[in-house]
């Protein structure tokens, strides 16, 4: 019973508080639960490294790019090297053959225009074939001889042929035109070749690194020497190139000169286009490493559209865990690089590296974008969870509030409607039962009981003061027999009063009178009778 009382009290408290209060509390509970779970998930994810996934992913992608680029580049350069070595061998044989035919030593070809022309006529088809077959934009041969040793710049001037493609473009389906850059002009006339607008009869070997050394060195195994020059400006032009230099060595070890192929900056750009990745524009770089710097000015850079590289920077290398940083001084790039042995010469110790890199800005923007997506996704998830919690708490509270409403409207249903919550149902059942019991106690009352009460109470005005005093004794619970002693009147007097009281109040007996009194007491209207 005590428990039931407590339940009623609890229900009372419910009714007094607004239902929204309970829903709010439930909401608060849900929200804090959700926040705890949410932050735990975020915490675990960050511990598991879900948010450094991007760097790792970039590393994998970069590694793949680097491997592809490196494979491609090494293939490419190996091909050119093989063709150039072949060119060197054939030139050596042809020159040796011609010299023996003419019966002269190699030293004697200086200042002999006829012999030089004749040699160039022999060399031209070989150089041209190399240009046509090797994946390059130029091929050349330089003999260690000059047409006029008396000239002031004769020490740097050397006879030879340099053929180049002129109208290169990345997408042109037209086969490029061969132009005559260096060499005796008679050959250009013979072969119907256009002279380069900066054509020269001879090479200025001061422009070509190590060229002089190569031609005058005594090499152990000269035939196996070759090296790529650092990028040089082609004299009098806006173009710059890297040249592969292979010595032309006779059977007795004399170095006739050097030959090889050319890859211009422009040609490299077309050959190594920029790749657009979600991280940013991926650029290929082939450059020497000097003092932990990638010296772009001495190397080649693939297509740079979408980046700020101008192929002249020195990039300071900062090694990183997943990728390196390349700092130009006014801009940073991230990427990976790898040393590639493209040269093979005791004269040259340049360390070449192939690198792929993307502007750090675009990567940061990409990461920021991803982070933003994460945040948006998290916010959306949070909103969904909040809405869910609102929905749940409302759903939970609704049966309670509806039951309360029913109680408040005193709409006691005989068949208890299920609220879906056993405790609420129990409470409802209990209250219903109590209400039913109350009604059973008043079961045989006529339906117009209120009217009867009103009439009864109205009639009390007919009573005299003396009669009302007697009635008061009855209301106080005294029996008829008690009245004479209490009022000091005879029993006959009491009976006479009773008759008058019954008559005036419209009751037939003291029992009926007492029933009225009892009912009025239950209704709380007894004081109206006094």
């Amino acid at each position: 019973m005590l428990k039931k009382l407590k339940e009623i009290r609890a229900l009372n408290a419910f009714a007094k508080k607004q239902s929204i209060g309970m829903q709010r509390k439930l909401m608060l509970y849900w929200v804090s639960m959700i926040l705890v779970v949410f932050s735990t998930v975020i915490f675990l994810l960050s511990i598991a490294g879900a948010f450094s996934q991007d760097d790792k992913q970039l590393h994998e992608v970069m590694k793949l790019y680097l491997k592809n680029t490196q494979d491609h580049l090494v293939d490419h350069f190996d091909n050119i090297t093989a063709k150039s070595l072949n060119l060197s061998k054939e030139l050596s044989r042809e020159i040796e053959l011609e010299l023996s035919k003419e019966g002269v030593d190699f030293d004697e070809i200086n200042d002999d225009p006829q012999l030089l022309l004749h040699l160039q006529e022999v060399m031209y088809p070989l150089v041209n074939t190399t240009l046509q077959t090797a994946d390059c934009n130029g091929a050349y041969v330089i003999l260690n001889a000059t047409i006029n040793t008396a000239l002031s710049d004769a020490v740097n001037s050397r006879s030879g042929i340099h053929l180049r493609y002129s109208n290169l473009s990345s997408s042109s389906p037209v086969s490029p035109t061969v132009v005559y850059f260096r060499g005796i002009s008679d050959i250009a006339l013979q072969k119907n070749l256009e002279l380069h607008n900066r054509w020269n009869l001879e090479f200025d070997i001061s422009q070509i690194p190590l060229c002089f050394e190569m031609m005058n060195a005594t090499l152990d195994r000269p035939a196996e020497n070759y090296y790529w020059t650092k990028r040089i400006n082609l004299k009098d032009t806006w173009e710059s190139s890297m040249l592969l230099s292979v010595p032309i060595v006779s059977s007795d070890g004399t170095v006739y000169g050097v030959c090889g192929a050319e890859i211009s900056a422009l040609y490299f750009q077309f050959s190594y286009p920029m790749v657009e990745d979600k991280f940013g524009s991926v650029v290929t770089v082939l450059a020497p490493i000097e003092d932990n710097r990638l010296v772009l000015a001495k190397g080649l850079v693939g297509s740079v559209s979408g980046t700020y590289l101008d192929s002249q920077e020195s990039l300071v290398i900062h090694q990183g865990r997943y990728f390196n940083e390349y700092d130009t001084g006014n801009g940073k790039y991230i990427g990976l690089h790898k040393i590639v042995p493209i040269s093979n010469s005791e004269l040259d110790d340049t360390v070449w590296a192939v690198a792929i890199m993307v502007p750090q800005d675009s990567y940061v923007a990409y990461i920021a974008d991803i982070k933003q997506n994460w945040i948006i996704a998290a916010m959306i998830l949070l909103c969904i969870l909040l809405a869910f919690s609102f929905f749940l708490s409302r759903r939970f509270v609704r049966p309670i509030t509806e039951s309360l409403k029913r109680f408040q409207q005193e709409e006691m249903l005989e068949q208890a409607m299920s609220s879906g919550i056993s405790e609420v149902d129990e409470l409802a059942e209990f209250l219903n039962a109590r209400a039913r019991n109350q009604r059973l106690e008043q079961g045989d009352l006529p339906p117009n009981i209120a009217d009867l009460f009103d009439q009864f109470i109205e009639r009390k005005h007919l009573l005299t003061t003396a009669e009302r005093n007697i009635l008061r004794y009855y209301i106080e619970g005294h029996e008829i027999a008690d009245i004479p002693d209490l009022a000091f009147i005879s029993m006959s007097t009491v009976r006479k009063h009773n008759r008058n009281i019954y008559e005036k109040l419209g009751v037939s007996s003291r029992d009926e009178l007492m029933l009225y009194i009892d009912l009025l007491r239950r209704c709380g209207r007894l004081n109206e009778l006094l």
Binding site: T464, T465, A466, P484, D485, F488, I489, S490, M491, S492, T493, K496, H497, N500
Partner: protein, 116 residues
């Protein structure tokens, strides 16, 4: 009750117990039902038990007195104004307060006697 007992006048004989109350307004006597003494008529036969009978007599008389007072309660009221004990014929039922004939006359209150 005590008021009534105080007003009872003893009219008992050795064989019967009887009491009377006199209305203080009209002076009429009311007599209670007489109750016979349980040993009535045997007093002379047993002289030896006279003492016992006397005690018995007193006890029965006391009981009879209480019964008489109870009986009188049916017929006598105390006037709330003059505090006198009056019979039902002399006690009037008035609107405000019941009272004796004389008081009602004096205060010009209308009333109806309990017994006309």
């Amino acid at each position: 009750m005590n008021l009534l007992i105080d007003h009872l006048e003893d009219c008992s004989t050795p064989n019967y117990f009887s009491f009377a109350i006199r209305c203080e307004v009209c002076g009429e006597f009311w007599y209670s039902n007489s109750i016979p003494f349980s040993k009535a008529g045997q007093v002379t036969d047993y002289v030896d038990k006279k003492e016992l009978y006397d005690v018995l007599y007193q006890k029965e008389k006391q009981r009879a007195q209480l019964a008489a007072a109870k009986e009188a309660r049916e017929h006598f009221s105390q006037c709330p104004i003059c505090r006198r004990l009056v019979c039902d014929s002399c006690f009037l039922i008035c609107d405000e307060m019941d009272m004796c004939k004389e008081c009602a006359t004096r205060m010009k209150e209308a009333g109806e006697p309990v017994i006309p």
